[in-house]
């Protein structure tokens, strides 16, 4: 008996000693691509060295070109691309990825306004729309390096900051601008189009669905990253979502979910204890504002042990005069306060 046992193992071991199977070609390809991903591969041939050096050179040239291009040759086209309602706001303009130009535009714009000490808002607006032209005029006088831009920014800060009768005014102006800018993010159809779902009202215990469409990335304060989330608030709650589009622009939206306490979802317990201690002696569903309900309970043999159409009448756990501690299944269909029908199925355990 023992020898046969040992034989079978030995026979298999010997048979598999030099056993080979040719793997399919895709295996090496996968291994190789994984290797490249993990950095296990080190290309050090002459060709790759040349490739790296030339890539570095191209990047360097491109960087130099980008650094100098906007100031050396400020093209009017770029200015036109910026939406008119965001010219006066540094933050919004930054979002259009034209940072270098926008800094000049917007800061200069403010500079012009502040220097003019304009007090009337309407007057302000009329000046804003002329802003690109003013910018273009002054543009030529500016030194054509980045340093100049930085210096100019400092200069502007100096103009804004020193205590003078115009401070309050200009600060107010900035705050006002920021508010306008926040609104413009949500409504600015030129640069950013996002569709937000409604602010839902749910019954107590119900789930609400919040959704955003046409974004690229979504980040909710609940930690979710999908465009559609399900929330179960127990009281009026706010949910914030930051939507990013494919250009990296961000938009923040706050959803408010209101909870209607006059109605509720149907709650069905998962266990009950009919031992007459006054606690959980009866199995019954609970819910506010339920207009219609039909509950059926079956035992494990499939016999119907209880049926009720009144939400206030529950099951005492008896079937043919006996209490049997086992797990039962229930089927409940009900209509909620809004007239919507639901079906719930589940298990309930009778504990003696």
């Amino acid at each position: 008996m023992k020898t046969t046992d040992d034989n079978i193992g030995k026979a298999f071991k010997e048979a598999f000693d030099d056993f080979e199977i040719k793997p399919s070609n895709s295996v090496w390809q996968s291994v190789n691509s994984k290797n490249v991903e993990l950095g296990n591969v080190n290309h050090s041939s002459l060709f790759s060295k040349i490739a790296i050096i030339s890539a570095a050179a191209i990047i360097a040239l491109a960087t130099i070109y980008y650094l100098y291009k906007p100031s050396v040759n400020p093209s009017p086209n770029i200015i036109k691309e910026i939406p008119i309602n965001s010219i006066d706001s540094v933050v919004t303009v930054q979002m259009t990825n034209e940072i270098d130009v926008s800094l000049i535009d917007s800061t200069k714009d403010e500079k012009v306004e502040i220097v003019n000490n304009s007090t009337d808002n309407k007057q302000d607006n009329s000046k804003k729309y002329k802003a690109p032209i003013i910018v273009k005029d002054t543009e030529d006088n500016i030194e054509k390096t980045e340093v100049a831009i930085v210096e100019e920014k400092k200069e502007i800060k100096n103009i804004i900051n020193p205590p003078s009768p115009s401070i309050e005014l200009s600060n107010d102006k900035i705050v006002q601008d920021e508010e306008e800018h926040k609104q413009s993010i949500l409504t600015n159809t030129d640069t950013f189009k996002v569709v937000y779902g409604d602010n839902p009202v749910v019954c107590f215990g119900e789930d609400a669905i919040l959704f955003v469409e046409d974004g690229f990335n979504y980040s909710w304060n609940t930690g979710d990253v999908q465009n559609r989330i399900t929330v179960s608030p127990v009281q009026k709650s706010h949910y914030t979502v930051t939507v990013t589009n494919s250009k990296g622009q961000e938009s923040i939206h706050v959803f408010t979910v209101d909870v209607d306490n006059s109605c509720s979802a149907l709650f069905i317990p998962s266990a009950f204890t009919p031992n007459f201690d006054g606690q959980n002696d009866v199995f019954k569903a609970e819910g506010r504002g339920i207009t219609q309900m039909h509950m059926m309970v079956y035992n494990k043999l499939g016999q119907k042990v209880f049926e009720s159409t009144n939400i206030d009448i529950g099951w005492d756990g008896s079937f043919k005069g006996k209490l049997s501690p086992e797990t039962y299944v229930y089927h409940v269909d009900y209509t909620d306060a809004k007239g919507i029908g639901h079906v719930k199925r589940g298990q309930v355990t009778l504990i003696k």
Partner: protein, 176 residues
Amino acid sequence: MTSEQKLIRGCRKGKPKYQKMLFELYAPKMLGVCARYFQRIEEAEDALQDGFVKVFSNIDTFKEKGSFEGWIRRIMVNTSLNLHRSNLKHYYHVDLGETETRIEDKRYSYDHLDVQDMLTMIQNLPNGYRLVFNLYEIEGYSHKEIAEELGVSVNTSKSQLLKARRKLREKIDKQL
């Protein structure tokens, strides 16, 4: 320097040429190892692929004293076990329909068996039987090592091995 050492050095430097050579040298044999651990060859190829990525990632940790093939083989076995690991706890439940068949005391000859048939037999064993049989009979692990590796008791390992042998013998009987 032997050619194996040269190969290992090349792979340590991450040279794609040597990596490909290493793969071509050992892959067929290692797929032969992995194949015994899975019912389907595609699963075995997945294990082989993961195993080779581990070989290339960890080649620095190989001490050149031991057998290189043994080292790779051990990685392949462990990778195969890892792929089973998430399901291990389901493998050692005793089937309700398990019937104790009386084994006749007679000597078997296994000379007539083809290795491809043997592989099919192993592949069609229940997962738990297959792992224990492979580890004990072919890889040469002890029951204690198997118990540790699979997170089961030594007795489970022993009984699974007996059942695996019995099952294989039944299959061989049917073939005769």
